[in-house]
Subunit: 332 residues, 2 copies
C-alpha cells in the first residue's frame, strides 16, 4: 500500500489529509472521506462517521501509524468499499510531507558513498565508522514534502542533495536487536538530506553534529510504500536527476550496516516512535559533492526510488542577508 | 511563577498534572483542579469546567505554554481564587519532567568549562568554537524529571553529569536576532546533560554528533521559573552535589555566547517551539570529567540553580548485557 498526505484549504486554514496513492491510476483516495462514507452506509450518522474517520485518519501520519494494524486495515477496507467515491486526480494535487517524524535521524550506511566522500575530502575515514553505525539527529520542524521549495540556507554557498531511503518506523520500541527490529519497520519513503557543504566545516570541527548545514530542509515523500511490497531491501534501484539530467544512479546494495542493525542501534537506550524516519545515509554517487558539483537557485532535484516513486523539489532563491553571530576573541 | 508537573494515577494509567509550585510553602497547586473550581463558582457546569480547565492545563507543558498569555494569566487567576482548595503537599509528590520539548538542543557557552574540558583532554580548542555557537540535538524521548532514576547507558563506563541552565522557549519563531530572541524566552529550568564519556570518543570521531553517549537521559526540572523572576541571566548561582558533597559551584557569568545569541542562532532556518528546551552548555566545574571523576550506580546527583531549585536524580544500576553492533572490516 502507498500512503501519503495532501493539503487542502479548510475553514481555518490548510489541513492535511491522509490518502492512499494509486500512481498507476494517477489518482489518490481521500481515506477520511472514504471511511466516513463507508460508515454511513453501515448506519452511522454523518457526524459520528466523520468523528471516527478523523480519529483513524488524522492530519498527522505519525498519529495514524500509531494506531497499528487498525490504521492499515481500515485504510484497505475504506478504499475497497468507497474509494471510487472519494478519489482525486493526482495532477494538481498539493502534497504534504509524507511523514511528520518526532525526530529526524539519518545514518551513514552505504560504503561507496563513504569511500567517495572521503576521497573527495582527501581524508582517511575514521576507524570509528567501523565500530558503530553513525547517525545524526535533525530538527523535525524543517521537513518538507513533494514539490515543496527548499529554502536556501542562510550563509550557505555550496548546496547539495543526498539521495537516501527513509526507513519509516511503525511502532514504539527500545533496546531492539536486529532480529526484532525489522518487525518495527512500517515502510520505505524517499529521504533527501539537503546539505550546505560549506557550513559543514565549522560544524564538523565543533563535533556536536550538523546544525545550520542540515536543519533547513529534509525532503520526505512523495509517499510511503508499506514494507510488504519489498522483497529485498538491498536491491532497491535509486537515481537522482537535476533539471532532468541524471547525476547519479545505483541501488541499495553495499551496506556497511543493514536497516535492521541501524534501527536496533538507534533504539538502544532511546525510543523509536511510530512515524519516525531514519535516513539510510547517502547512496554512492548520491550527492553532487562526490561529483564536484553543487546546486543553484531554481534547480529541480528529483530522487527516484524503485517501489516508491519520485520525490521532486526545487531549490529556492538566496534569502536577503540576515543576522549571523559575530566571531569571538580567543579565550585560551 | 514556578510551574511544574506531577504524576497521579488516573483511570487509564498515570497522568501528568500541571502545577504552580510554592516551594517556600512546601506545596503545589493543581492548576486544572483550581481552574475547574473557579469556573464552577462562576456558573459553569462541572463537565464544562473540566473541559475548559483541561484545555488550558493539559498534560503536556509544551501544549500549555503554546497557549501564550492565556496560560499564565489563567494560572495566576486560578491559583489566587481557588489555589487553597486544590493544594497538595510537596512531600511525597511524584514529579514529572517539567518540560516535554519537541527537540532537545544543548549549547556550549561557558568559557571556563570549554577551557577546562580541553585542558583535561589535552587538546587545543577548534577555532570554529569562536565562529558559531555550537549545539547538538538530543532525543526528546529520554527526558526525565526530578527524582527520576537515570538509566545506566548500554556499554557506558564513565558516567557524568553536566550542570546547565535550561532555556525554556515560550513561542514559535524562526530567523530571530538577539534583539528579538529574548521575548521568546519563557523561563529557566535546570538541565542535566548526563553523558557517557567513554562512548563519546567514537561518536566524536564520526562527527555526526552524540548518540548513545547522551540519548539515555536528559534531566529537566524540578520546575520552570518564569523569566520575569530573573533580573540578570549572567549572575545565576549554580552548584552540583554528589551524595551530598559539593563537587562544583559557580555562576552563569563568562558566557562565550549569550542566551539571546544562542536562541537566535538556533532559530536560523529552523523553528523553535513553545516548551522547547535549549541547554546553556555546562558551567565551569559543572562536570565530573573536569575533576577527573565519574559516577557510580546509586550515586545521587543534585544540581542547584538560584531562582529555580534543586534537580535531584539517582544513577541507576548497570543493565544486563544487551545487543551491540559487531565491528565491520575496513572497506577502503
Amino acid at each position: 500500500m502507498k500512503l501519503g498526505r495532501f493539503v487542502v484549504e479548510g475553514l481555518d486554514g490548510p489541513v492535511q489529509r491522509i490518502c492512499m496513492v494509486l500512481p498507476e491510476q494517477n489518482r489518490v483516495i481521500d481515506l477520511r472521506a472514504a471511511e466516513a462514507l463507508r460508515l454511513q452506509a453501515r448506519g452511522a450518522t454523518r457526524e459520528a462517521a466523520l468523528r471516527y474517520a478523523s480519529t483513524v485518519f488524522p492530519e498527522s501520519m505519525s498519529a495514524a501509524i500509531a494506531l497499528g494494524q487498525q490504521f492499515l486495515e481500515t485504510a484497505a477496507e475504506a478504499a475497497e468499499k468507497n474509494g471510487a467515491d472519494a478519489s482525486l486526480a493526482m495532477d494538481g494535487l498539493k502534497w504534504g510531507a509524507a511523514c511528520d517524524p518526532s525526530v529526524v535521524r539519518d545514518g551513514l550506511t552505504f560504503t561507496k558513498h563513504i569511500r567517495q566522500f572521503h576521497e573527495r575530502m582527501n581524508v582517511t575515514p575514521q576507524p570509528a565508522l567501523l565500530e558503530i553505525p553513525g547517525y545524526f539527529k535533525g530538527s523535525p520542524w524543517t521537513v518538507i514534502g513533494h514539490d515543496a521549495e527548499v529554502p536556501w540556507p542562510a550563509r550557505g554557498q555550496r548546496i547539495d542533495y543526498e539521495l537516501e531511503l527513509g526507513w519509516v518506523i511503525g511502532s514504539r520500541a527500545n533496546n531492539l536487536t536486529p532480529d526484532t527490529a525489522l518487525s518495527h519497520l512500517f515502510g520505505v519513503t524517499i529521504f533527501n538530506d539537503f546539505s550546505a557543504r560549506d557550513l559543514q566545516a565549522n560544524e564538523f570541527a565543533i563535533g556536536m553534529g550538523p546544525t545550520k548545514s542540515k536543519d533547513f530542509a529534509y525532503g520526505i515523500g512523495p509517499w510511503i510504500t508499506t514494507i510488504d511490497e519489498f522483497s529485498n531491501l538491498s536491491d532497491i534501484k535509486m537515481s537522482v536527476r537535476v533539471n532532468g539530467e541524471t547525476w547519479g544512479e545505483g541501488d541499495s546494495s553495499e551496506m556497511l550496516w543493514t536497516p535492521e542493525e541501524l534501527i536496533a542501534y538507534v533504539s538502544i537506550g532511546d525510543h523509536i516512535q511510530p512515524g519516525d524516519v531514519i535516513g539510510s545515509g547517502t547512496m554512492g554517487d548520491g550527492s553532487a559533492f562526490e561529483l564536484g558539483r553543487s546546486l543553484n537557485p531554481g534547480d529541480v532535484v528529483e530522487l527516484e526510488v524503485g517501489g516508491v516513486g519520485v520525490l521532486r523539489n526545487r531549490i529556492g532563491q538566496r534569502p536577503q542577508e540576515s543576522w549571523w553571530p559575530e566571531p569571538r576573541k580567543p579565550f585560551m
